[in-house]
Symmetry: none
Subunit: 224 residues, 4 copies
DNA sequence: GATGAATGAGCGTTCATTCAT
DNA sequence: CATGAATGAACGCTCATTCAT
């Protein structure tokens, strides 16, 4: 999978331009003609590389979920020698990744009504792999003494964590603004840390507070 | 509220049919023709009552946000003689309301790209009135001794609470399924209670645990 | 015809409102709904008085052509004891009449494509009665010594005169502007007098020049 | 003119078919669907070449006014070695050009209410360039001794000339009939010559009369 | 690989007109 | 006389997609 040469430069350019336009204007109002014109290629050429608009979206979703899975794997290794700093750094990367593909959490429900295959891969990947991966990760963090809580609590913690993560990115008042990815990631990270705070073990409390303090001074985004 | 004559039966039927169809199939793939045909009225008649499709959505958003504001007011009065049971009961009502209008949290971002006026009323109402109302409510609950936490914690609590609330409803794998509103509301409520748990004061801990226990046995929804 | 009571006050109000709106915005973009709303009556009521939009236009055309015919008759009597002043005064009245119904010369061709009956009454009246009436009038004016020219010349004079008269009123850059009827009539009159000038007999030249001089000072409209 | 590649054959076919249909049936009752069906192309294809119906009309107006401007330039050169025959020949060409685009003078006022950009280009071109061009031309003809009159007279002559020219073409009883362009142009020309007659200088009177006589025998059109 | 003209079903909307009350 | 909700054919236009070159 990683070995296979990327299909073609044009293929990639289409994917990247689409991502950009989808994020800026919303998938709904970006037509295949817009994408082609933006790239100075013909529509015919676009359809040479993609059978339909759906497939562009599917490819973007593939990249999005692949990235998420990769970060999840990284998190597995990181937790071997756990540190708050490592966790936060990873969290920011994940949020930046989500931000890069923000049109997806924003319009995923809308897309379902016009893209059946996305629906399927979503429930397989997002609600399957990733969701379970996050759950496993949280249990591991508890095993390593970073988090505390019973099984039910940690289960809900994992579930809510994901909801917050994507919910933050999908917030409609944030999403289209040309915010710096940096700012959005920081603020989101802060929210998530406050969310985790009550479950951080006493052993990790001190570095946790330190990190929290170091992130605070950034200017706030508008409230929800 | 009860005094104001409803505009006309047909007006209301259009609004209600639209809500139903939007929830089932997504706003995007429900055309004005579909709505009219569903109601066995002519498109002309539909457009006699609404100047454009946007206005149907705007009316739905008006009803949605009006309901939310009403619940918020109810919450203000409830918190006078606070009880966990009262809070949970209200929370379930809010979630059922959200569920009734679930196409809105689901597709709000998408709608922004084709409905400028919605964008404006959203930022005024959702990100304004409601957001601030929820924050105030949480501070009041702390004043009454139900919640504990410093100002920053309670602030984040309020913000995250809202994100979770709508995030749960908007979860794409849930939204289109013909779930019983009851089940969705229960499960969402449970998630939110677990989210609040660490901040519940010791004085209210016992009734809180009792309520939590009474809700648990319901069969679980699929994980995120 | 003149004895018959006008059909009803509402009938007349519809005719007059339509005239006003047609002149202001063009018949094409004035719908029957607009007219009804403008008058604060229901569409049903409008259609109680008129079978269709065409009929409103036909009634307006009837009034327009009736007025023209009346002025023509007046001209016949006037020419008994001919004077330049009388002619000019009549001409101004005709131009003001044309201006009152200016949407007709403006959009007559357009109307033909959607109003067959207008086509018929137009060719009967405008191209029949009126056209012949004007011709007769010009010959009479020659007989009375006001104009000079052979039969062919006078024939062309009459034809061109009418063309100029309506052409002036229909000038698109003039028509929609809220010009004072007075100004438009004066300017148009001046143009028409210059057009007649070469055919005015030497006997009437002096009063003619006097009248011409007395009209000149008005500020000019924009050139064609 | 000959150098500029035409946009595409289909582009031109749309323009030409539209012109034909507009002339026959009136712009108002010719829909984009009609045009497409007439050409056996899809509506999509029509809209591939034109963004909207307005743009087809604008393109036709562009061609119309370009032609008029060209004839005006030709007139400028012609008047160097002026002759009645040359003038008449040009006049016939102009009238045939006007006849070719007759839907424009016919429905220009109507179009204004649904086509703002046409309104602008009309007042710039028709009421600007062309109007001034005609005025200049008439003054030049006087300088060359073909016409006689003081400044005011020549000014009105120019203005009225234009009004007659387009008024003749726009005559609703003429416009839709499948008249031979030749006949219409001849008759119109004759009218215009009679209009000019009083101002033709004695030096040019003889050739003028000769030309007039040579045109007369054609069968007459119905009177106005 | 690439072009760009062509397709056509379907969209949101309009408006003259009807009709039950 | 008057109301106003209801009709439906038709409009201008969109856009994912196809296909000959």
């Amino acid at each position: 999978m990683s070995r296979k040469e990327s299909k073609s430069p044009t293929f990639d350019r289409i994917v990247e331009a689409s991502l950009q336009l989808f994020n800026q204007q919303g998938e709904r109002s970006v037509t295949t003609n817009h994408i082609a014109r933006y790239l100075n290629i013909s529509t015919g050429n676009l359809y040479y590389h993609f059978a339909c608009k759906e497939d562009i979206i599917n490819e973007l979703y593939r990249r999005y979920s692949k990235g998420m899975a990769d970060y999840l794997n990284a998190a597995g290794e990181l937790s071997v020698n756990a540190s708050i700093e490592g966790l936060v750094s990873l969290l920011e990367k994940v949020l930046r990744h989500l931000w890069t593909f923000r049109f997806i959490p924003q319009s995923i429900s809308s897309l379902f009504s016009v893209n059946q295959s996305l629906r399927e891969s979503y429930s397989k990947i997002e609600a399957g792999l990733i969701s379970r991966g996050v759950e496993k990760l949280f249990f591991k963090l508890r095993d390593q003494g970073m988090l505390e809580g019973d099984d039910v609590q940690i289960g809900f913690l994992a579930r809510n964590f994901q909801l917050l993560q994507t919910g933050w990115i999908a917030r409609p008042d944030i999403a289209r603004c040309p915010q710096e990815a940096q700012v959005v990631a920081r603020e989101g990270c802060l929210s998530l840390l406050y969310f985790l705070a009550p479950y951080v073990s006493s052993r990790f409390r001190q570095p946790f507070e330190r990190v929290l303090a170091s992130m605070a001074p950034l200017q706030a985004l508008p409230a929800v």
